[in-house]
């Protein structure tokens, strides 16, 4: 990989770690969505967010390998 994305972009990959490993952020029942307590939909929501954030980094890579 000859031109890596700027180092700052890689820091985006730490967001899911922060959002999910600091449990006090989301250890609640409310607000609920479609019957899902907060604890559950918050964590499920991190799946697409993580893919999106990773895609932001991916976009800035050269794909010649």
């Amino acid at each position: 990989m000859s031109d890596r994305p700027p180092r700052l972009a890689w820091l985006l990959l730490l967001l899911p770690f922060a959002g999910l490993l600091w449990v006090p952020f989301y250890n609640f029942l409310t607000p609920d969505v479609w019957g899902f307590p907060f604890f559950y939909w918050y964590q499920l929501a991190w799946v697409p967010i993580t893919s999106f954030v990773t895609w932001l980094v991916y976009r800035r890579l050269r794909h010649d390998d």
Binding site: W10, L13, L14, P16, F17, L20, L21, W22, V23, P24, N27, F28, L29, D32, W34, G35, F36, P37, F39, Y40, Q43, L44, W46, V47, P48, T50, S51, V53, T54, W55, V57, Y58, L61, H63, D65
Partner: protein
């Protein structure tokens, strides 16, 4: 739960099983360029799997049949705490994205097949190579046994008893694995994952409707936990750090296993792996929703003595028997894919890092493939005998230790990709310290995943594997500083 044999369910089950057996055997011819008598071809499918094949293969091999049984079982038994599998299987992907393409490059450039190959190539140390290889094999064996246990849970739900069904499934697995190598599970993974997706999405779409909606499902689970006086829909204060450390430790360990690394090394390019880090989270959505089957079992009023029966019992209770047969086939076939890849990964390790390193350094490529095929057979027979003759709890304990052990190979495998500072003796002693202290802590805690340490006045419980990894890294750094300072000292002149 019912133990009557249901003809419809059993017929569907057998038909699906025959289909994948034929596919597994035909896979030997699939996308075949060169001779099968090479370890690259048999054990890595020729390093040519593109984005979609890798997606099915790694997905089928990381989210195992045992996961499908055990995650809802844990959620049924303890509630929110069982969900640690969700953050675990989310944060693993940014890690895979950042690290695994680098590892793939090293392996591709040098023709490496195993993690221990990479470590030997990087540090030139036979001791470190042996440590990584032995850890890989030790950690994989109980994992294969767990797949057979997952399969046994399904046979039980179909009303099949005794060892014969397991033995049959095992022979199917052994035969296609022997002849097709990694192509077998790669091709079967398409069928298996499609079936699992259908079964899980049918369950999460239809079951809550029968039980009064998701709000009612959560409510029923909450009531069950309150009646029991244990568990709950959110974590207790004391469970938060265990939850986070289990998720982190499991995520760091996940791609150190021989079976997941085999999927990485078999990819056609580094970009295949990056794309998969973006796409594999689809399986995590499925896992998260699947976990809720544990709550649905409470809402359906199932009272189970063995939580591992949650998924089979729920399908038996709420779906027509043809669909239950289909879902059970999905789970049983789901056990074949990871079991096959695991035994291939262990066989690759044995061939490259024991046989070629110590027994026959001049082994030909054809000889390597032959040794690997026979080893994969031996590994599977070991797992089968363990499943039949040892108590299930024993495999679970070994699986817990296996996760702790494999995590100790992390510094040796990953650090060298980013920094050029560590030396082989430091990493070896770090591995030994982590391995031994971790095993000792887990043993003295009664083989529980959590270890309690005191910080001043407060006591904190953490995932024991992560504590051992911290010891591992500290020892590696300290020893490395000592080694470096010795080298840097001027030699006394005579």
């Amino acid at each position: 739960m019912t133990t009557e044999v249901d003809g419809t369910a059993l017929a569907i089950f057998i038909a699906c099983f025959i289909l994948v057996t034929v596919m597994g055997l035909m896979a030997a011819r699939w996308k075949r360029a060169g001779s099968m008598a090479k370890l690259d071809e048999w054990g890595l499918g020729g390093r040519q799997f593109g984005t979609w094949i890798t997606w099915f293969l790694v997905g089928g091999d990381f989210y195992t049949a045992y996961t499908v049984i055990a995650v809802p079982a844990l959620v049924y038994a303890v509630g929110a705490y069982g969900f640690f599998a969700l953050p675990y299987t989310i944060i693993v992907y940014p890690f895979v994205f950042a690290v695994m393409p680098l590892l793939w490059h090293v392996a591709k450039k040098n023709g490496y097949v195993t993690a221990a190959d990479v470590v030997h190539g990087r540090y030139g140390s036979r001791a470190l190579e042996l440590a990584v290889a032995t850890t890989g094999v030790l950690a994989t064996m109980p994992y294969i046994a767990l797949q057979l246990i997952g399969m046994a849970a399904v046979f039980k739900a179909l009303g099949l008893h005794g060892e014969l069904p397991l033995l049959t499934a095992f022979i199917v697995l052994a035969v296609y694995d022997y002849s097709s190598g990694l192509r077998g599970p790669a091709l079967i993974a398409f069928v298996k994952d499609t079936m699992i997706y259908i079964a899980v999405f049918a369950a999460i779409a239809l079951i809550p409707g029968r039980l009064g909606g998701y709000a009612a499902v959560f409510h029923a689970a909450d009531a069950a936990f309150q009646a029991k006086g244990a568990g709950g829909l959110v974590l207790a204060q004391s469970q938060m750090i265990p939850y986070a450390t289990l998720a982190l430790g499991s995520a760091l360990a996940a791609f150190m296993y021989p079976h997941t690394l085999t999927g990485v090394f078999a990819s056609a390019s580094a970009n295949t792996i990056r794309k998969n880090a973006l796409l594999l989270p689809a399986y995590t959505i499925m896992l998260g929703l699947l976990a809720l089957l544990g709550y649905m079992a409470h809402a359906a009023g199932l009272k189970l003595s063995d939580p591992n029966d949650v998924v089979p019992a729920l399908f038996n209770a709420l779906f027509p028997s043809w669909f239950a047969g289909f879902a059970f086939a999905a789970i049983a076939i789901g056990a074949l894919v990871p079991a096959a890849v695991m035994s291939i990964g262990a066989a690759n390790l044995f061939t490259r890092n024991f046989w070629k390193a110590y027994v026959n350094p001049d082994v030909t490529p054809a000889g390597e493939a032959r040794v690997a095929k026979l080893t994969s057979l031996a590994v599977k027979i070991g797992a089968l005998l363990a499943t039949i003759y040892l108590p299930t709890q024993f495999a679970l304990y070994l699986q817990l230790l296996g996760g702790l052990w494999i995590l100790q190979t992390f510094p040796a495998l990953v650090f060298g990709l980013f920094v050029d500072w560590f030396t082989a003796p430091a990493l070896f002693l770090g591995w030994a310290a982590g391995f031994l202290s971790g095993t000792w802590m887990a043993w003295s805690d009664g083989l529980k995943p959590l270890h309690t340490i005191g910080f001043g006045g407060t006591k904190v419980s953490l995932y024991v594997g992560l504590v051992a990894l911290a010891i591992n890294v500290v020892v590696a750094v300290v020893v490395n500083l000592a080694v470096k300072s010795q080298v840097a000292q001027p030699q006394p002149s005579r």
